[in-house]
């Protein structure tokens, strides 16, 4: 075996790339790992913020959840999983939170909150037009989410969560958000809206 230190690119690269060990490592990883969920680093944080919205929202008696608060989610698979881990089974008052994956559960009943985990405005607009989101507090990540008729837009700014809220939309679905939470966000009126 040649034990001299290579001095040229060609020799060096051949050594490196020729190493069966490295190739073996790569192949081993690619083949051996099971398929489970991936989340964006900030997804856990966004999920915790959704929980705060659920905790600090009050519904009018006509639209109040009985014993189950249903939080629907659509979009990024990693976030859907993060939301399930964070919210599923938790209680707010006397109500149990249930997370409903709107992409797989087509027959789900009406949701109280719906989260659109997509940055694409067209997908968010399409989602907002769904019947199941019609009477829910809608939360989204797209740039023009509020302008598209959404209630709460969540953004990651400098590593921190920031949100904008359209109070008219929240009131329209028969809910109100506590000022304890609202003081951390910005109240927005959608483009073309009044007031």
């Amino acid at each position: 075996m040649d034990t001299q230190v290579p001095r040229r690119l060609k020799t060096g690269i051949n050594r490196v790339l020729g190493s069966r060990l490295i190739a073996y490592v790569a192949v081993t990883f690619m083949l051996s790992l099971s398929a489970l969920q991936a989340a964006e680093p900030e997804d856990e944080l966004k999920a915790a913020v959704v929980l705060s919205f659920v905790r600090y929202t009050e519904w009018k008696p006509s639209s109040a959840p009985d014993t189950v608060i249903r939080v629907g989610v659509t979009g990024r698979p990693g976030f859907r999983e993060a939301l399930k881990r964070t919210l599923e089974g938790k209680t707010v008052g006397n109500s149990l939170i249930r997370v409903i994956d709107l992409e797989t559960d087509m027959d789900a009943p009406r949701c109280h909150v719906v989260y659109f985990a997509t940055t694409k405005n067209s997908e968010a607009q399409h989602g907002l037009s769904m019947n199941r989101a019609a009477r829910a507090i809608t939360i989204g990540e797209a740039d023009q989410f509020i302008d598209s008729g959404g209630a709460i837009a969540v953004h990651l700014v400098d590593g921190r969560i920031r949100f904008e809220v359209n109070l008219m939309e929240v009131q329209r679905v028969g809910a109100s958000i506590s000022s304890k939470l609202l003081r951390f966000g910005r109240i927005r009126v959608p483009a073309g809206g009044s007031g």
């Binding site: 034990t3 230190v5 290579p6 001095r7 040229r8 690119l9 060096g12 690269i13 490196v16 190493s19 060990l21 490295i22 073996y24 490592v25 081993t28 990883f29 051996s32 790992l33 099971s34 398929a35 489970l36 969920q37 991936a38 989340a39 964006e40 680093p41 900030e42 856990e44 944080l45 999920a47 915790a48 913020v49 929980l51 705060s52 600090y56 979009g75 990024r76 698979p77 999983e81 993060a82 881990r85 964070t86 938790k90 997509t118 940055t119 694409k120 405005n121 067209s122 740039d143 023009q144 990651l156 700014v157 400098d158 590593g159 921190r160 969560i161 920031r162 304890k180 939470l181 951390f184």
Partner: protein
């Protein structure tokens, strides 16, 4: 070679034995936070994972994209000026001194700079060519700065600090963005970017950037040759530089478990360099107006797979190539790195990190004048393994992080870099941390193979030729450091961060002079040569502290004061057989103060006022200075912004630091920049 294979084999065997995992921000912790605390959580990757800043057992500062934008900075070093505890000195408008906790010089060799985890530290001369890594500021998500050793997490040479520039994910840069800049120093700046999300699993951006700078303004120019002689030019011109750069980034999440990142860039830079070469010091130098050209590019890929929440394994690959045409030397540098890391939760209390890496570097140099490497071409390889465990001694309250990094390189250096850190978080608002580390700076080609012909110098009343030579016996510089810190976050209203440190250094680079000059040739004039040979025998010590705070006086007004103190000293060995001297001058100011005021005058109008003060620079005998900057921005639509920035409001003609031969330093002047940015949002 055997040791390399051993390292690789260790990495591989471990890789096959355990599933990869990834640790994100612990869900349980986040859901237990109050609303106030939740919205003050800042996500960072300081420990190579997404984590809360307040849970980092190290002196960390995160410079956010918003802070960078509001600073009015036009380059990364300008933005870094506002990081508490960093020393950032402008030399000639293109070159910078950037250091943490001392050892600041043109190419600071004890600080590691990275873009998305790719090291920019060159094995040719242990440093970073700042003007060749000018990432568009618009693409930066945040810059994470760790003061103090970061070797276990980030690698060797992170002796006094780590600067990790993290670029935005492509989903955050969709649509088009254009910014145009003009000013009296940055004459023209143009940045164009396009980003799209063709599928929810795939997103990309491409960008291009052009800049032209004219920092000279017929001011005096100062050439620092040694402690006894600074050559001064009455009116220095010809410091123009032009840069063109283009790049892309692609993020792909093909399925629920995998994430791929691919990014690359190419650049070309041309700058005028008026330089001086010593003929007979002190007093006689040769002035020469020359031109430097740098060009190169890089490509970087990362694959990560998540098996379960908080469990990740990742492989990162990078290749970069740079052709640096200095006035005195041309160098073609190539660097390949492969890095693997895995994380696994062991029971409820332990989080084990381990991995390994490999680096292949090769270069080709050619002397243009006075400086050369022997041999001209060289290659360098290094391998490493890392093991680190984070153990919850008291769950949620007391964390112990212990790790070690083992490095071996083809120079024959085998290094161990252990670190032990403790983090105590009695509640969500406060944290106290302690750290003990051993870190090394590995020798570079500069230390081993450099030769210079530094002209003649009067020594003992007689002129002698002076030449500098590297040495193959150069060893790694070693630092042992003890640190402690305290953080307090009072919701969103105010926060403070204090860190104290003490470090001792061994094997610092010094120059050995023989007690008698060598006779090179009786017929040459002068006949005597004083060879200066590098040796690893210097000792050093530094201690100090850093304080920073934020105070939201009103929701629309934030104040951010910071203060840092540094006391550094170093010693030459005592011996009768040889004389010793330092290879560089120890510049630096003991006291630095920063104050930033960020005021939202209305939803569309922002005003930023910034002040910075530093005490006398003892090493270079430069006076202290107080400087002020300001920026006003007007967001005329939801997607357009116009800003006006002024640096050095009072037009103080201050030299912040001297450069190194043969380069000049010029005083600061008042500069202004007008910048227009417009985003065209994609669907």
């Amino acid at each position: 070679m055997g040791a390399f294979r051993l390292l690789l084999a260790t990495v591989c065997m471990g890789a096959m034995a355990v599933y990869p995992q990834r640790v994100g921000t612990p869900t349980g912790e986040l859901t237990n936070l109050s609303v106030e605390e939740l919205f003050s959580v800042q996500v960072t990757s300081v420990g190579r994972k997404a984590q809360q800043l307040s849970r980092s057992p190290a002196a960390v500062y995160v410079l956010s994209a918003e802070e960078i934008r509001r600073s009015g900075a036009t380059s990364i070093p300008e933005a870094l000026r506002w990081v508490p505890g960093l020393t950032v000195s402008r030399l000639d408008g293109r070159s910078w001194v950037v250091s943490a906790r001392g050892s600041g010089r043109l190419y600071s060799n004890k600080i590691l700079v990275m873009i998305d985890g790719r090291s920019l530290y060159t094995p040719l001369f242990s440093g970073v060519v700042w003007d060749s890594i000018d990432v568009p500021l618009e693409d930066i998500a945040q810059i994470e700065v760790i003061r103090g050793p970061g070797t276990v997490v980030w690698g060797p040479n992170a002796v006094n600090g780590v600067i990790n520039i993290i670029t935005k994910r492509t989903k955050a840069t969709t649509g088009a963005e254009v910014s145009v800049t003009a000013g009296n120093e940055l004459r023209t700046g143009l940045f164009v970017r396009w980003g799209d999300v063709p599928r929810d699993t795939l997103s990309y951006r491409i960008w291009g950037k052009l800049e032209q700078r004219t920092p000279s303004y017929s001011s005096p120019g100062y050439y620092f040759h040694n402690n006894k002689y600074v050559y001064q030019v009455g009116s220095l011109d010809g410091l123009d530089s032009t840069t063109g750069r283009a790049g892309f980034r692609l993020d792909w999440q093909p399925n629920k478990t995998d994430e791929w990142l691919l990014q690359g860039d190419i650049y070309k830079l041309s700058r005028e360099d008026p330089v001086t070469y010593p003929i007979l010091l002190p007093g006689l130098v040769e002035f020469s107006a020359e031109r430097a050209r740098y060009e190169g590019g890089s490509i970087q890929g990362r694959w990560s797979r998540t098996k379960a929440p908080g469990m990740e394994d990742s492989v990162q690959f990078s290749f970069d190539r740079n052709e640096l045409g200095f006035p005195y030397l041309t160098a073609r540098l190539n660097n390949i790195t492969i890095d693997y890391q895995r994380r696994r939760t062991m029971g409820e209390r332990n989080e084990l990190y381990w991995g390994g890496g490999f680096q292949q570097y090769w270069d080709s140099t050619a002397s243009r004048r006075s400086i050369w490497f022997t041999p001209e071409d060289s290659s360098y390889r290094a391998g490493n393994v890392i093991v680190r465990d984070e153990m919850q001694l008291l769950p949620g309250r007391l964390l112990l992080s212990a790790g070690i990094r083992l490095d071996y390189n083809s120079y024959g250096n085998f290094e161990h870099q252990p670190s032990l850190r403790l983090l105590y978080t009695p509640n969500a608002k406060q944290s106290v941390w302690f750290g003990f580390s051993r870190a090394v700076r590995v020798p570079s080609r500069y230390d081993r193979d450099l030769r210079t012909a530094s002209g003649q110098e009067y020594i003992g009343g007689a002129p002698l030729w002076v030449g500098l030579a590297g040495s193959r016996t150069t060893r790694s510089e070693i630092e042992r450091s003890i640190e402690a810190g305290y953080r307090l976050q009072s919701g969103q209203r105010w926060s403070l961060d204090v860190a104290l440190f003490r470090s001792v250094y061994r094997n610092l680079r010094i120059l050995r002079m023989p007690s008698m000059p060598e006779i090179v040739s009786p017929r040459s004039a002068p006949p005597g040569l004083l060879p200066l040979v590098q040796e690893s025998a210097g000792l050093g010590r530094s201690y100090g502290g850093e304080f920073s705070a934020t105070w939201h006086v009103r929701p629309s007004w934030k104040l951010a004061p910071a203060y840092s103190y540094l006391n550094q000293n170093r010693w030459l060995p005592r011996t009768a057989a040889n004389w010793y001297t330092w290879e560089d001058c120890m510049g630096g100011s003991p006291h630095q103060v920063l104050l930033r005021s960020s005021h939202d005058l209305s939803e569309r109008l922002q005003l930023d006022l910034m002040g910075r003060a530093r005490s006398r620079n003892k090493g270079y005998e430069l006076p202290g200075a107080v400087l002020a900057d300001a920026r006003v921005s007007w967001r005329f639509t939801r997607s357009g912004e116009l800003s006006f920035s002024l640096q050095n409001l009072t037009n103080r003609q201050v030299v912040e630091s001297y450069s190194e031969p043969p380069y000049a330093a010029i005083p600061l002047r008042r500069t202004f920049v007008v910048k227009w940015t417009h985003k065209f949002l994609a669907d």
